[in-house]
Amino acid sequence: MSDIYIAKSNFRGVIERLMGRYRVCAPVKNGSSHDFAPIEDPSEADLGFRNSRLSPKGIFHPQAECMFDYNLAGEDPQAGILTEARKDFSPQVVLGIRPCDAKAFRLDDANFDTDSLKDPWWVRRREATTLIGLACDDPCSTCFCISMGGGPYDTAGLDVLLLDTGEGYAAQVLTERGKNTLEATSGWSSVPSAISALTLEKKAAAEQRIGQAFDPAILVQKDMIELFKSPIWEEVQFACINCGACTFLCPTCWCFDIQDEVCADKGERLRLWDSCMFPLFTLHGSGHNPRSQKVQRVRQRFMHKLKYYQDKYNSGPACVGCGRCVQACPVNIDIRQVGRLMASPGCSCPA
């Protein structure tokens, strides 16, 4: 299927037809920001957004997910048996996801979908979902996707990429899944010839605006132990208040905790978002905590994102440059600045 085009005046119909076959998650306005949510009406989808406040990772990795439930009621034949919680894996579409977030899911796959270990819910949700992305023409000053190996028109991890041409959307169909999803709707036509030159221009403009933050490849060359022992961490860590804002908003943060909630003889086993920023994160049952100090936790976060992940998977950092942590951090700890310090510790100039 070659690239196709839909006029914005016909786009509502496309969404309607998608909704006929899929659960559609789209950016929904929520006060002064947006969040991805399932829509009940095409008008709820607002593709005029910049990016969602929370990342869309909750679509595949919910903040609180019931894994199993059980009861201990004597007479019940199911008593004492952990029963997998019912899940909904019906086909869904995430409409309007940004290239950075789509790439993030690929990075998360390295954790949830490996040769030896597969998270059954993550994998099935991923298989049931078509990602229809929206290229960025108006990046924020906090975006730095290009430095992280992505870009405003990047196609990694997407099934379709929509390019806003003003009057309509040109759709680059990237995968078989994307093709099947779009074939389920109608109203598309072929791309008007003037569009490709225009989109190349817009892509270049967006890329120029984003610029370069720092080069993560430099960190691959650096000795891990030296980076670990670097004096920069003492300075970086001071402002941090060890909340979970950065980790919860980050599309490539996946860490979770498992705990049971029990009431009398009924219980649920839950998977919950956890954060390496929280002191409890590494608290052992013995009472020992290898990262009891804030400096250890702050160092861990940046080393994981920018060094360990690179060394382990050989595919770039565990960061897509979406900039949410930069916007959300209450004390302005800026991963771009930390990256610069890691790459060249002598430099202590801000921004």
Partner: protein, 315 residues
């Protein structure tokens, strides 16, 4: 406001070179607009990184509990009251501190400004004192600073530090204002209306605990939400658990919160958490005639017992 930057730098340089203090807690210029980063200057040369403007809303007293050595700290009115609470609760010793008092003209609320702009991103902002000059890719505007203050700053009645070793500017005039208009409006709601109001308020909460961690009065080594033997509060985003966290935190702050606004500033999803803490502030004021941290020799009422404490329930 520029003058405060100069004064802080001079004071910090002096205190560090004379070794009067081991470190100075202040702010350095942030990497994004409307933000500054809390900074610990340890060498006289580092003093030149210190700045002070209308983007210094985070309460630096948050960093004091359990610090060792001698520390200078830049403190506006609310911060200084938080320091008094820390002193009363033995979280730091007075001898360790050199307080650089800053009479405050109020802090800017970036969300209020962003909301006014309908999606355009502010790239630069200059705080000129009476105005804030903002500019983006294709716009420039001058805003009246007073219209875009943090909500707690707009109703502040303690702009001048109540404790200090050096005052870095002329005291500002305090205002007489009704601090509890919004609280009374909620109090007068019918129970069902109130329940829906709070449910709506708390809905975006993602339990990141930025509010708690930005708060200088929240310094418990193990917060009640992290207790596990037994577990008191669930860690999902179930509304009951989320309410428990916010309500109980507000109660723990009763008579200790100085309304510095750091909690609201820190919240990544913009929840007006001060609606909980202000309610308790009002209760304590009415019951005990007490304002947190204003007098250096009066303990917060819920930290202590006095025979004249009101006991209306005894009839």
């Amino acid at each position: 406001m520029q003058t405060y930057t100069e004064k802080i730098r001079q004071a910090a340089k002096r205190l560090l070179s004379e070794k009067r203090v081991d470190a100075v807690i202040g702010f350095r210029k942030g990497t994004v607009v409307f933000m500054n980063e809390p900074y610990l200057a340890k060498l006289p040369e580092q003093a030149d990184q210190l700045v002070w403007d209308g983007n210094c809303g985070i309460n630096l007293a948050n960093y004091l509990p359990n610090m060792t050595g001698n520390i200078a700290i830049a403190a506006k009115g609310c911060d200084s009251r938080s320091i008094v609470i820390h002193l009363l609760e033995n979280q730091i010793k007075r001898e360790q501190l050199y307080i650089l008092g800053i009479p405050c003209h109020g802090m800017i609320d970036k969300r209020r400004i962003q909301a006014r702009l309908n999606g355009s991103e502010v790239l630069e902002a200059v705080d000129t004192g009476p105005n804030v000059r903002i500019s983006g890719r294709d716009f420039e505007q001058t805003l009246e600073r007073a219209d875009f203050l943090q909500e707690n700053c707009a109703i502040c009645t303690h702009k001048n530090p109540v404790i200090y070793d050096e005052l870095l500017g002329e005291p500002v005039e305090e205002q007489q204002i009704d601090r509890y208009e919004d609280i009374r409006r909620i109090e007068s709601m019918l129970p069902e209306e109130k329940r829906l109001y709070f449910e709506d308020l708390i809905k975006p909460c993602i339990r990141c605990y930025a509010c708690r961690n930005a708060c200088p009065a929240c310094y418990c080594p193990t917060c009640f939400v992290d207790e596990s033997k037994p577990q008191w509060v669930g860690k999902t985003i179930d509304p009951t658990d989320t309410f428990t966290f916010h309500f109980l935190r507000a109660f723990h702050l009763a008579g200790r919160c100085t309304d510095c606004g750091s909690c609201e500033r820190a919240c990544p999803v913009g929840i007006k958490v001060r609606l909980f803490t202000k309610k308790l502030e009002k209760e304590v004021k009415e019951l005990y005639g007490y304002e947190a941290g204003v007098l250096q020799d009066r303990q917060p009422p819920l930290d202590t017992y006095r025979p004249e404490d009101p006991e209306p329930f005894l009839g």
